[in-house]
Symmetry: C2
Subunit: 276 residues, 2 copies
C-alpha cells in the first residue's frame, strides 16, 4: 500500500520505519527537511517523497499537532486521492474529529486512531520502530468511516506491533484518556516540581517510576491538556478527592480507614493486572 | 560472621538467602515456623536456628514491623552477645531509633539502616536475593554507633548488592522518605481508587507505571504512614499545592503557565536522571 505520513517527529518517523519494514511504500513529509533527508538516507522513506505523492497514496497518516493537522487538510486536501483513507494520531479526539469531519472532502474516508505508546524524547532522531510492541491502540468511530477501512487500519496497527486494538467513540476515548494518561502526566510533573531538593541516594524505585513521564514535551502536552480541559479537570478533581480522603484519615490517626483505602487500591490494582 | 535475622518475611528471607550465599552463617527466627522450616530445607538458614543462637551471633538484623522489633528487644535482649551489633530495616526511623536507644543494653551496639528496595508481594515465599541489586541503602546515624560498625554494615550492604550506601540522621531520612516513598505510595493508591472503571485497552504505560505500587502491604504501610504522620502530611500538602496550581492554570487557559510548569518538571527530571 502507498502510505503518506505527514509529520516526521518521534511518532511519524517510527510509523514510517516500521511500515516500510512490513512492506509498504512510505512517503513522508515534514517542514523540517532534515527528517525527510535522514529518512531517505536510511531507506525507509521513498526517495521522491513530496506533496504530489498525496495524489497516489491510499492512506494518509496525520502526525502533526492537532491544529496543524487541521491546517494541513485545509491547505492540501485538493491533492488527496479520491477514496483514500485519512487517519490522525492526535491524543484528544472530540474536537479534532468534529473539525476534520466538517472540512474534509466528501470523497475521502476518515477513521481516527490513538496509539497508546510513546517515548519521553521527541523528534525523528528518537524514532523507535519497536515502540508499539505490546501496546494498546484505540480506533475512533467517525461519522463517515467505512467498515472495511476500520478493518484495514486495525490490521495495519497489528502489523505495527500493537497487541490490542479497541474501538471507542471520541467522547469515551477522551474521558478515559483524561484519567489514565493526562492526569498521570500532571501528577508526575507536580510530584517532580514539589521536590525541594534531590538528595542523591534517598530514592527507591517508586519515585523514579512515578516521575519518568515528567520528562515531557511541554508544547504537545499543554495542547493536549487544553483541548481536553473539562474532562481533565474532572479527572484531576476525582484524584484530588481520593488523596485528600487518605490524608484526612492519616491526620485523624484513623488506622482502620487508611488500611481500607490501601486495601481497596491493592485489590483494584490486582484486578487491573489480570485484565490488561 | 554469625548473623541472626529476626522476621523471615519478604525482606528477612531475602537478606538470609543472599547473606548465606556470600558466606555467612545465617540463623533465622520467625513466629511462623513454615518460614524457618523452608529456609532450612533450602539450606540458607542453619538447621539449628533457635533463639539461643542469639548468644553467639555477631550481628542481629531486626526485620519485623517497627513495634514488634521493639518488643523483640525488650523480651530477648538478655540473650544478645556482648558487643554484638544490632540493626533494623524499618522504613521510618526517628521514633524507632529513639525507642531502641532508650531500651537497648549498653554493651550492645546499634546502627539502623533502610534498604531502598522492595517488592509488591509479601512473605518468605516471595523472597528474592536479587532484590537489592542496583538499589540505594541508607545508614542511619545513632548515638552509640561505633565507627567500625558503620563500616561493617556498609560493606555487608554492598555484598548484598546495593550500589550505593549513604548515611543520614533519622530526621533527614524520614523527611526524604515522606516525599519520595510514602507520598508516592499514597498517590498510586489514590490514583487506582479514583478510577471509576477500568476500560481494558485504554491504558498506556503511564497508568500502569504510576499504579504498580498500589499493590501494597496495607498493614505495613498504614504503620509507616502513621509513624511518619507529620512529615508525610507536609509532603502530601506540598504535592497537592503543585497539582492545584497546574489545575488552576488549565482552568484559566493559561497556556504559558502550563508550559512553564511542565518545562520545569522536565528539567528537574532530566537533572534527577543525571544525578541518581
Amino acid at each position: 500500500m502507498k502510505i503518506f505520513i505527514v509529520g516526521l517527529g518521534l511518532m511519524g518517523s517510527s510509523y514510517a520505519e516500521k511500515l516500510h519494514d512490513v512492506g509498504h511504500d512510505v512517503f513522508g513529509y515534514d517542514i523540517q527537511k532534515d527528517a525527510i533527508l535522514k529518512g531517505r538516507e536510511e531507506g525507509y522513506i521513498a526517495f521522491d517523497s513530496d506533496l504530489s505523492k498525496l495524489m497516489t497514496s491510499d492512506l494518509i497518516i496525520l502526525a502533526l499537532y492537532a491544529n496543524d493537522n487541521i491546517e494541513f487538510i485545509r491547505t492540501h486536501q485538493h491533492l488527496f486521492k479520491s477514496n483514500a483513507l485519512l487517519t490522525d494520531i492526535s491524543g484528544v479526539k472530540h474536537t479534532v474529529v468534529n473539525q476534520i469531519e466538517a472540512i474534509l472532502r466528501p470523497d475521502v474516508d476518515f477513521v481516527s486512531h490513538h496509539p497508546m505508546a510513546g517515548r519521553a524524547k521527541k523528534g525523528f532522531q528518537s524514532k523507535d520502530k519497536t515502540m508499539f510492541i505490546q501496546s494498546n491502540a484505540i480506533l475512533i468511530q467517525t461519522k463517515r468511516g467505512k467498515e472495511y477501512n476500520y478493518a484495514l487500519l486495525s490490521n495495519l496497527l497489528i502489523d505495527l506491533g500493537f497487541k490490542r486494538v479497541i474501538t471507542m467513540t471520541p467522547e469515551a476515548h477522551d474521558q478515559a484518556i483524561a484519567y489514565t494518561s493526562q492526569l498521570t502526566h500532571a501528577i508526575a510533573s507536580s510530584l517532580m516540581n514539589g521536590l525541594d531538593e534531590v538528595t542523591v541516594g534517598t530514592t527507591g524505585d517508586s519515585f523514579k517510576e512515578l516521575t519518568r513521564i515528567a520528562n515531557i514535551n511541554e508544547t504537545l502536552w499543554t495542547n493536549l491538556f487544553l483541548e481536553n480541559k473539562e474532562l481533565l479537570v474532572d479527572a484531576m478533581e476525582s484524584f484530588q478527592a481520593q488523596l485528600e480522603q487518605l490524608k484526612q484519615a492519616i491526620i485523624h490517626n484513623d488506622e482502620k480507614n487508611i488500611q481500607d483505602i490501601l486495601k481497596k487500591g491493592r485489590i483494584k490494582r490486582e484486578s487491573f493486572e489480570k485484565n490488561t
